[in-house]
């Protein structure tokens, strides 16, 4: 029983950590801000929750499990809100959600200006 639990939690931790890498890769590789948001949301959902589940399965006391659950609830509410705030601010700030090419030009212009 304990062995099965260890394997399950180990698998959750490993997959969660790999998803974090994939998410970081997405944030680097994807072409413009709005597509990068999708890469980031993998870390907020899959990565974070699998790691939390892996840790909950290993928790040695009820209290530790509850605190991990609270972290999960806080992330569940704040992560999409922060993503949406960034997306909305970028939209207001003039980035085009439909045409990555236009943003590319704009981004380079901003880079030159900076």
């Amino acid at each position: 029983m304990s062995l099965a639990l260890d394997i399950l939690s180990g698998a959750c931790l490993f997959v969660g950590a790999v998803l974090m890498i994939v998410s970081a890769l997405g944030v680097i590789r994807l072409p413009d801000l709005f597509t990068r948001l999708h890469g980031a949301s993998i870390a907020d959902t899959g990565g974070a929750f699998l790691l939390l589940i892996g840790m909950i399965l290993q928790a040695d006391s009820f209290l530790v499990g509850i605190k991990l659950g609270l972290i999960g609830i806080v992330l569940f509410f704040t992560a999409p809100t922060a993503s949406h705030a960034v997306a909305h601010a970028a939209l207001i700030g003039g980035l085009s959600p439909d045409d990555p090419g236009a943003n590319q030009g704009r981004e380079e212009a901003e880079e030159d200006r900076a």
Partner: protein
Amino acid sequence: MSEHLIVRIVSKMLIPFILLFALYVQMHGDYGPGGGFQAGVIFATAFIIYAIVFGVKRTIRVLPLTVVTAMVSLGLILYAMVGFVSLAAGGTFLDYGALDSHDPVHGQHLGIIIIELGVGITVAGVLTAVFYTFAERWQK
């Protein structure tokens, strides 16, 4: 930013829990990480997010400047008071053990809790005051 629906509602849900978490950190300083300073910072954070979402004017209506100033001095007074009371009870300055002549351990516990409360109140007041000052500078 108060016209921003999602941010407004999620902040409204979150603020009471940030405040509660600050007080939890305050009271559990001797069981885990935390204590007065950290609690004060988290407590002030709740007011800062309120100011970011609903504006500084409305925050000042909730937590007026006079209250902030009073908090800054109240914390310090609490801290000094513990010191002088222990001095009066026959110990040295801030010698918590002297607070309870029968049970020094209980005295120490009480002294630390009051002192941490003083630190927390002062830090929360100072950080809110700093934020108000920063935000106000751009009003004119």
